[in-house]
Symmetry: C2
Subunit: 413 residues, 2 copies
């Protein structure tokens, strides 16, 4: 993988020109993407910008985000050849920070569940996960140091876990979703993939102009609550093992750990998340579903078929449950700094029939809290399994610092 932090260091030190850094990504895409299929389209030639913290950083953009310079096809034939007039807000934030947009990465149709043809760079017989399939794979394959994705259920943290890369799904709305195709306005969150926690922190700090998101030179020792999310069912052996190993490594590194059982309202919110998601999707994708029904991806269409009778009253009740759960979760964070939990049930499933299961992610998306994936182990077949570090709403810096702590603890194992 290409480390963003290392690239910045070499560019700053004059060891590497920003243009050479961009050229290196173009070469890697040329060499590898035919096999992996992470990009829908990409630049043939590209230059670095001359200034900004992300100069020389080539970035892959999930293809549900508007770009004026590339088509934006939403993973669907309904948007074949679609060319937006302008750039999404997050694309502009990257450009303003000096980055070079190198291409568009594959997405399941409208960031839902129908798999793309993208392969997992760790083991090409497996899915990279979804819906941000191409962005996770492009970083994992060493094609780009940074890529943008989105999460509505588990579309950032799950593919990051499957591909063995770091990712942050920031607090809700820390990054604007303007110009990003909407699935659910209460849930959709833009996030970043990069090779390690320091790299995603640098990307997020540069995009937001929030220097406090950069990792401090001294990483504080966190108070960690370990959560197994029993309400979501049991994990596979590799998922459970990843959580056990990460917890043990953190404890050995000095963190105080305790197992936490979530209040009942939290489990209720976990059950409410699909109601919010699909009710809003029926409105957000009304034109696609109602006027292009036959062209809709089959798994997404079936989901929408199944949820079309959800009433406003059921939606209101789900939203109310989520509000109460957010308050309860805020109280959980009074005694701990972060939660440590599963990123996915286990390693990436075999084949491309499914992008995997978001059951350990969807609650946290609904809560709006920052989640960071940290790779924890390599299971059979060379497949990574990660864990996620979760902080209270708005405490993205704290999530990153604790994730760095866990990452370092795992490296010392």
């Amino acid at each position: 993988m290409i480390s963003l932090a290392e690239l910045q260091r070499r560019i700053d030190a004059g060891e590497l020109s920003a243009d050479a850094a961009i050229a290196q990504s173009l070469e890697a895409i040329g060499a590898q993407d035919e096999a992996i299929g992470a990009f829908v389209c990409h630049a043939d030639h590209a230059r670095a910008q001359s200034a900004g913290p992300l100069r020389g950083i080539a970035v892959g953009i999930k293809d549900i985000m508007d770009t004026a310079d590339f088509p934006t096809e939403m993973g669907s034939p309904i948007y074949r050849g679609h060319r937006p007039r302008g750039d999404a807000a997050v694309v502009m934030l990257l450009k303003q920070a000096g980055a070079t947009i190198i291409g568009k990465t594959t997405t399941t149709a409208f960031a839902s569940v129908d798999p793309t043809a993208t392969l997992n760079p760790r083991n090409q017989a497996h899915t990279p996960g979804g819906s941000s399939s191409g962005s996770a794979a492009a970083v994992a394959a060493g094609m780009v140091p940074l890529a943008l994705g989105t999460q509505t259920g588990g579309s950032m943290i799950r593919p990051a876990s499957f591909c063995g890369v770091a990712a942050i799904k920031p607090s809700y709305r820390l990054l604007p979703t303007v110009g990003v195709k909407c699935y659910s306005w209460t849930l959709d969150t833009v996030g970043l993939f990069a090779s390690g926690v320091d790299d995603v922190a640098r990307g997020l700090a540069a995009m937001t102009g929030r220097g406090e998101l950069l990792l401090p030179s001294t990483i504080a020792t966190p108070r960690i609550g370990v959560v197994t999310q029993d309400f979501a069912g049991a994990p596979e052996a590799s998922g459970a093992e990843a959580l056990r190993i990460a917890a043990k490594a953190a404890e050995r590194a000095g963190a105080s750990l305790r197992e936490l059982t979530m209040p009942a309202i939290i489990a209720e919110a976990w059950r409410a998340q699909p109601v919010v998601q699909e009710f809003e999707a029926h409105r957000a994708l009304a034109w696609e579903y109602r006027e292009n029904y036959d062209a809709m991806a089959p798994l997404l269409r079936a989901r929408l078929d199944d949820s079309r009778d959800t009433t406003p009253a059921a939606y209101d009740a789900a939203v109310e449950t989520a509000d109460r759960a957010r308050q309860a979760l805020a109280r959980v964070f009074e005694d701990i700094d972060v939660l440590l939990t599963l990123s996915a049930p286990g390693a990436a499933p075999h084949g491309l029939a499914s992008t995997g299961d978001a059951r350990y992610n969807r609650l946290w998306t609904l809560m709006g809290v920052p989640c960071v994936n940290v790779p924890a182990l390599i299971a059979d077949g060379g497949l990574p399994v990660g864990v996620q570090v979760i902080a209270r709403y708005g405490a993205d810096a704290q999530a990153l610092v604790a994730a760095r702590f866990v990452e370092q603890a795992l490296a010392r194992r």
Copy 2:
């Protein structure tokens, strides 16, 4: 004006065909819009749908909302000829309810403050207000029974007051903003203009599928808190008179009234609103502002120039202030049903140099609470002045019922 309720009654009774109702709007547009300039473009021929509560209802759509069948130009040459692939969520909600989209109404550039050429149908020497200029004027001139607008500061309630029509800015996110050009994601709210309170209630109920928004046969007598918004400065004589008359009429009709002074945090939120609005606009309109600077409308561009140094910390503080103010406002509503306050400082300003002042609106947009404009008096020059009725967040039905009470009380005066 065309009453939506009356059209529905006549169509249901078989006195008028749905197609004839649509034809009537097309005729009115043909007869009047050359003088008023409420439409950017409209259908030459249009048919009614055969079913749905809004069959036979011709609707004007503010031109920042995506439509597949009409260009969507955002009031800006930057989007000249722009044709979105699909329809905005609210456009689809209208279609699903049986309405006919008749055309696109004028908007200030990106729903900001640069006036359009639209004239006020009540007195063509005056502005109709903005930013939803065309939608307010189209309803006021009797061209359509229903039109959609948006409010970020005061872009619905102010033009409704200036044009003498009813309007609801619903609770934040009651209507989805998917496919509506974003200015500020915390503030932007889609709403409806129609001839009277019953008409906007019918439109909103049909779009949302929420029957509870229809007015009940018996209108309850509300407990009203009268608010002068001193923190926003003094109104003009006609604005003060409108509020006095509406309060007196409501009291005479049996409502319990008391003057309320808002807690200090509310005034603080009033001051914080522009910080939230412009910080988000810099991100939402980054492509337009940074890559099309010369083509930006001058007043909007100056606003963005003036606010470009707002820091994330200042924004965070403003958001935090708004959160605390929302909690304080919820407590204000423990003892009253609705607030009654100014819709605008006074009647529509002369000329087209300004769309008027949003100072009595912007707080309530930030609070996310439902606001309904009720025309209260006709000032010099035949210019209407309205008042607004405001309920707690989520109590849109209550806002409509109390607004109907005030409307009836004023009619009996």
